[in-house]
Symmetry: C2
Subunit: 428 residues, 2 copies
C-alpha cells in the first residue's frame, strides 16, 4: 500500500443482499474493524451475482483504491464468482491451490464428509494468490496485488467473516507505515436520545477539541457514545473529554465497552452476594429474559414471575383482590403488592415489578396506551413511579424493561431515583 | 422511464453507515418494496457525506439507470448534501420550495415548535423538483428527471422512509407501461435450515418451473420460503409448487406472510378458549416474552414462571427435592414436575417446561452444553424429550424457546411430535 492511510473500498456481492431478503451487516463489521486502525472506508458498491458488473466494479476499484475488500461469492455454487472475477481483473489463470485443497480436506475430515466436486470448486483460485485462513468454514479467503491495489476476498457468512477479520486486521496493522495509535473508548448510556445528547454537548462543551472524535450509536434500549483519538499524545485530551461527558451525563452512563444494563445489575448484585426477582405484567418476561441472556446470571437471579392476568397476580403473587378491584391492575398499589409478593416467594433481596398498557389496545382516557407503573427495591426500600411512554408495543416493552433494570442499578449505586428520562415521561 | 422494467440503482449517503456505527436496513426495505412491482435493484453505492464523491456517483448513475433512489442527506445540518448534489447534477439552482415550507410550518405547528433556520434549510431544494410527501418527519422527499433518469430523494430515518415508500411504490406502479401482476407468497417455517431446504427441493422437485421464483430468507428462529410469479397466468403453476412444497416440508410450515410461531400458538389456543403457561429454566423468560410480544396475548397466556434456581423449582413449582437430588435439574423427571407445577398453579390447559445447559459454562461429560429437556402438553398428555443443540447461548435460548412453542403447535394441530429437527438433535 502506497499511503500511510490506504484508500479503502468495499465490493459486496450476492443476490440475497440486492433483493433485500438479507440485511447486510458484513460491511458494518468490516468498517468497524478497520476503524480500529484509523482506516476509513470511503466507498462501497453492492451488486448481484452478475459477472460483467462484478468485473467492471472490481477493475475500477483496483485502479482507484489502495485496498479493496470483496465480500461474498466464495461458496461452492456456480453463482459464486469471486475467484473467477479476481483472476480476470488480475489477468491470471484459475488453478487449484494446494493450500486451499489441504484446508478443504481437513475441514471435511473433521466432519466425516467426503470432499465432493462442489466443495472442490472452492480451491480453484487465481494463480499466485495468497490464502487467508478461514478458521470456521470450508471456503478460504484469498488475496492478491493488482498493480498498486491489494485485493482481499472474504466469505459472506457473517461468522466466517468475523473470524477472518482478526487475521486481516493484524496483517494490515503490520503493513502500515505508521504506528497504530488509534484508541476508541465506548461509553454505554441509558435514557438519553442521540439528538438531545448532541445538543447537550454542543451547548455545554462548545470548545470540544478537534483531536477527539465524537460519535453516537443509537440503539434500543442503550445508546453508545464513542470517543476516539488517532494519536497516543491525545489520550490526556480524551480523558478530559471523558470527564466532562461524565459530568454532563452523569448517572446515565452505565459502563464502558459493550456493557449491558442487565450485566451491570448482575455484577453489582454479585459483588454484594444479593439477588433480584421480577414480577412482570406488560413486559411479559422480557426483564427475566434480558437477565438470563447473560452467562452466569444464575448467581444473582433465581426466580421471575410473569403474572399477565389479574387472577394470577392474586393467586401466584398474593396481590389483594381489594387492590385489583379498587385501583385496577395498572396502579401503584398493585405493583407494590406484586413486588412484595415476588420478594416473599423468591427470598430475593430486590424486586422489579411492572404493570402497564403496552398497546395497541387496552388504553382508556384515564390510562392511555403507554401508561405504566413500576415498583423497585427491597422490602423496606420499595419505590414506585408512574410513567407514560407511548411508543410501539415492542419498543415500549424494551424501554420499560430496561428502565426497571436501570432503577435497580441506581438504587444499588445510590444514584438519583428521578433521572431525566423519568421527568420527561411523567404520566398526567 | 423508457423501459417496461426500469433499471434501478440506489445511492446511499451518510458517515454513520460508512463507519459501521449504523447497519443499513433502508436499502433492503427499498429493494423489498420495489420487488412487489417486479423491479429489481441491480447496483447500490454507498458513500459518506462527501460532496465531490456524491456528485460523481449521482451523475454516473443518472447516465446509466432509468431510476435512481437516493437515501439519506435530507436533514437540517451542513452534512446533509442531497439537495445541493441533485441541483448540481441536474444543472439547476437551489431555491426555497413553497410546498416544502408549508409542510415544515404545519409540522412545527403540530409540535408547538418555532420554525428555525436549520429546519428551513430542509425547504431549499433543486428548482423545478416535485415534492414527495413525508407523513411523519420534517424533511420532505423530492424528485426530478435528469435526462432519461428519474431521481427520487428519500430520508435516512427508517420510519420516514417506510412511510414514504408507499407513495413511491404507487407512483411507480402507475407509471409502469405494464400491468403489475407480481405476486409474492411467503411461507414461514420452523426447524428447517436454508441449505437442507434447498437440497430437499433440488432432490425432490427437479422439474421446478422457471416462472416460479424460489427464495429463502434464513432467520432465527424461523426461515421464510418465498414463491414469486410475475404474471397472473402463472398463479396456477405457483399453486402447484406450493402444494409440492407443503407436501415436502409438511408440518414444518407454520403459516403465511409474517406469521410468527408464538402468534400461531396463541391463535390456536384462542380458537379453543384454552390457555398456555410456561415453566422456564435455561430459556429464562424468553418463551413468555415471545408470547407477550404479540398484541392480545392475554387471551391465552395468563402466567409464566422463571425458575432459574433449584430451590425455586421446588418452592414455586413444587418440584420434588427427590427428583432434583436424584436426577439433577436437567432431567426428564424435573421438567415433567415443572410442567405439572405450572399447570397446577396457573390453571392453564397446556404448559411448556424447559431445563437445560445454555452455556458457555455448566456443561459436564454426561450433560454437555446444549443439552436440554423439554416437557409440553396438558395434565394428561404431557410429552418429554431430550435434545442436544450446542450453539452459542443466545441462539440456543431462541431455538429452544421456539421448539417449545412448536411442540404445542404440533400438539394442538395433531401433528407429528418427532419432527425432523428433533431427530437431528437427539442427545446421546
Amino acid at each position: 500500500m502506497r499511503n500511510q492511510t490506504p484508500r479503502v473500498q468495499l465490493l459486496l456481492t450476492g443476490n440475497e443482499i440486492m433483493s433485500g431478503d438479507t440485511v447486510d451487516s458484513n460491511s458494518a463489521l468490516i468498517a468497524k474493524r478497520l476503524d480500529e486502525l484509523a482506516i476509513p472506508v470511503y466507498r462501497k458498491v453492492t451488486v448481484g451475482d452478475d459477472p460483467g458488473l462484478l468485473k467492471r466494479e472490481l477493475a475500477s476499484m483496483a485502479a482507484n483504491a489502495d485496498l479493496v475488500i470483496v465480500n461474498g461469492g466464495l461458496g461452492p455454487t456456480i453463482d459464486d464468482l469471486t475467484a473467477e472475477i479476481l483472476a480476470a481483473v488480475a489477468g491470471v489463470q484459475l488453478a487449484e491451490h494446494p493450500q486451499a485443497v489441504a484446508h478443504l480436506e481437513t475441514w471435511c475430515a473433521a466432519r466425516n464428509l467426503k470432499l465432493n466436486a462442489a466443495n472442490r470448486k472452492q480451491a480453484i483460485l487465481p494463480a499466485g494468490c495468497l490464502i487467508v485462513d478461514n478458521p470456521i468454514g470450508s471456503a478460504v479467503g484469498f488475496e492478491m496485488q493488482v498493480s498498486d491495489c491489494r485485493i482481499i476476498c472474504t466469505p459472506g457468512v457473517p461468522s466466517e467473516l468475523r473470524a477472518m477479520m482478526d487475521t486481516i486486521v493484524h496483517s494490515l496493522a503490520a503493513q502500515l507505515q505508521r504506528p497504530v495509535e488509534r484508541d476508541i473508548l465506548r461509553l454505554q448510556t441509558f435514557g438519553l436520545g442521540e439528538s438531545s445528547a448532541q445538543q447537550l454537548i454542543s451547548d455545554h462543551l462548545p470548545d470540544w477539541p478537534a483531536e477527539v472524535e465524537l460519535g453516537f450509536r443509537a440503539g434500543a434500549p442503550q445508546m453508545e457514545i464513542k470517543l476516539s483519538v488517532n494519536r497516543r499524545a491525545d489520550l490526556p485530551a480524551r480523558q478530559r473529554c471523558r470527564e466532562r461527558i461524565e459530568h454532563l451525563f452523569g448517572d446515565h452512563i452505565i459502563g464502558e465497552g459493550d456493557s449491558l444494563l442487565a450485566e451491570r445489575v448482575l455484577d453489582l448484585l454479585r459483588q454484594r452476594s444479593q439477588t433480584l426477582t421480577t414480577a412482570e405484567s406488560c413486559t411479559g418476561g422480557l426483564i427475566a429474559s434480558m437477565l438470563t441472556s447473560i452467562p452466569g446470571s444464575s448467581d444473582a437471579f433465581h426466580a421471575g414471575f410473569v403474572t399477565y392476568a389479574n387472577h394470577i397476580k392474586h393467586s401466584v403473587l398474593g396481590v389483594s383482590e381489594a387492590a385489583l378491584g379498587e385501583h385496577g391492575a395498572v396502579s401503584e398499589e398493585v405493583v407494590r403488592e406484586m413486588a412484595l409478593g415476588a420478594l416473599d416467594r423468591s427470598g430475593a433481596d430486590y424486586a422489579i415489578a411492572v404493570s402497564g398498557i403496552a398497546g395497541p389496545g387496552g388504553g382508556t382516557d384515564d390510562k392511555p396506551v403507554g401508561t405504566v407503573w413500576l415498583a423497585w427495591g427491597g422490602r423496606d426500600t420499595l419505590l414506585t413511579r408512574c410513567l407514560c411512554w407511548p411508543v410501539e408495543r415492542s419498543l415500549f416493552q424494551t424501554m420499560i424493561a430496561a428502565a426497571g433494570l436501570d432503577m435497580i442499578r441506581r438504587m444499588l449505586l445510590g444514584l438519583d431515583s428521578e433521572p431525566r428520562y423519568f421527568r420527561q415521561r411523567k404520566a398526567r
